[in-house]
């Protein structure tokens, strides 16, 4: 048995080597870099340099606040929307189900740059269709890119558009795994469709909902594309700068790798912490 194991590991060695060099080592290395002052040549070990800056940096707290704001508003709204979409997709009355399923999933496949460009056009002040629509129902135009609140809303709308369908498909798969006869039993028990949704579908979907929420939280903590491309590098004036963007700015614009690493580790730690709290809150009762 031991011999067989050794043979297996010999076959795995090429993969494990590559994994160790290009995956494990960068993770360890970046953690070590976060303890170094990287604006001097040569880099020197200074544990308080980056981590100390982090706790007092207004730009970091601004990015953290923006990220958490998006997280708190966008993730629940998106999952609720995904749930509605999944229920509609699951309806036996729906024709051409495959087409809708594809349509809901399509935004994930669309290139990020293309989708960001289209969003910029749609929300443009003077010739965007969104402002045209607002005008047509008597509402004033909104300058989506120059004011912080509309800009944040735009980021949330864009992220929701992109990922709601994806989550809906996952939720749909969960819904379809609930046996039909449980609903039939509830129907015979005189339980209305609405109550069936709240008392049967939702509780039984809980693990799937938690899964979607965890994926979304991790995604939002790393949010980069939308504020970079749609609101032009976290504009206006850092109003939509997220932690991902701050990391990029520090690492690749200012070449301050030590600080960027500290930000990266903070993002990862926050994602883990929030996820753990969520898992704890939604744990199965014994």
């Amino acid at each position: 048995m031991r011999y067989r194991n050794a043979t297996a590991y010999r076959f795995l060695t090429p993969y494990l080597l590559i994994f160790a060099i290009f995956w494990v080592w960068p993770i360890i290395s970046s953690f070590m870099i976060s303890f170094q002052a990287t604006r001097t040549v040569p880099w020197r070990f200074a544990p308080g340099f980056n981590w100390g800056r982090l706790i007092g940096d207004p730009a970091f707290f601004n990015a953290l606040k923006n990220t958490l704001l998006i997280l708190v508003i966008q993730v629940p709204v998106m999952i609720a929307l995904a749930m509605v979409m999944a229920v509609l997709l699951n309806s036996p009355l729906l024709k051409a189900r495959g087409l809708y399923r594809f349509a809901f999933f399509a935004p994930v496949v669309v290139g990020e740059v293309a989708y960001s460009a289209v969003f910029r056009l749609m929300f443009s002040l003077d010739f965007g269709i969104v402002n045209k629509l607002l005008n047509s129902i008597g509402l004033p135009k909104i300058d989506w890119f120059s004011n912080v609140t509309p800009a944040m809303a735009l980021i949330m709308i864009a992220v929701t558009w992109r990922w709601a369908g994806y989550n809906a498909i996952i939720l749909l798969a969960g819904m379809q795994s609930i046996p039909e006869d449980v609903y039939e039993a509830a129907t015979l028990d005189r339980v209305s469709k609405l109550k069936q949704f709240f008392y049967i579908t939702l509780p039984l979907l809980k693990p799937v909902i938690v899964f979607c929420a965890v994926l979304s939280i991790i995604g939002t903590m790393q949010l980069f594309t939308e504020p970079f491309l749609i609101t032009e590098r976290g504009g206006p004036g850092g109003g939509t700068e997220t932690l991902g963007l701050l990391l990029y700015r520090q690492g690749f614009r200012s070449l301050n790798f030590g600080y960027a690493s500290a930000v990266a580790y903070t993002m990862a730690a926050l994602a883990i912490a929030i996820t753990l709290v969520q898992l704890w809150l939604t744990r199965e009762p014994k």
Binding site: P179, L188, R190
Partner: protein, 359 residues
Amino acid sequence: MATVTLKNVVKRFGSFEVVHGANIDIRDGEFIVFVGPSGCGKSTLLRMIAGLEDISGGEIAIGGKVVNDVEPADRGIAMVFQSYALYPHMSVEQNLSFGLRMTGNPKADTERRVKRAAEILRISELMDRRPKKLSGGQRQRVAIGRAIVREPQVFLFDEPLSNLDAELRVQMRVEISRLHKELGTTMIYVTHDQTEAMTLADRIVVLRGGHVEQIGKPLDLYDNPDNQFVAGFVGSPKMNFIKARVVGHEARGVVVELAGEEKTRIVQPLADAAPETGSKVIVGVRPEHFGLAGEGDADLPVAIDVVEHLGGTSFLYARTANGEDVVIQRDATRVPDTPGITVSIRKSYLFDEKGLRLR
């Protein structure tokens, strides 16, 4: 308690008809079993009574009231599903009380009903457990309990025992029988297992291909089947069918000769018009209706393939000279240890070529 009446009930899925005009009268308090092979329409029929399937034609009445357009919840029925269909995220107690709680039934009454159901089914000590912590038999009890708390006029069982092992199936069969005696409610039970049908039913409805083949008391079906299908389906091991030919007519009845057995002739008394000489017929013999040579109407030499000794009885799997398989049931002490024996046919049934009984 209520009667259930099915009048010319038809079910179509698209253009495909699966139930072709079923007529069944179920009496108040009766235990009736729908039995038949897979795809015979028995579950569809049950689901139509429950209201889970639309009725394509005909009429279903419960307690004298036509329910074709009545919602499932308002039909006064409760159903036990094959897969139990318990709510997996609820405890046993919550499973039992869920329907009543959701419809605003008074709390004290809900508690009373749940307690009574738990006592009847002896699951009081399981009330806090989730379904996944229960054995198959316990789950089935909870599923039955959930039906009991609704205090329905009619219980519907959709193959409730098919997911249980053999021993538990026998035990639950007895329990369901006891439950019927205790509650006295009309029960409609679907199964493909003829033993369950024979042991539980007041009356059995035998279905095949969406047609009702025969309705009757278990032993009436056994002793007096209307056709070859019912004769073969009811009874285990099933009735033996041997090809034969009419060779003449006597005052006592029609004379048939078993295929390939010139010496084996049976005289079958018939009230109906006898088939013409030379027409092909089928002789049906139940395994227990074979006797020792010379004991019965005709003797039949057979070659023995396999003998199964079950203790009290033995089954002989044998072949006639014409190569037809027959199963012979014998007292265990009287099984000869020879490759071939001659048995007598003590009682037989006659069917025409289409399988209809000739009597």
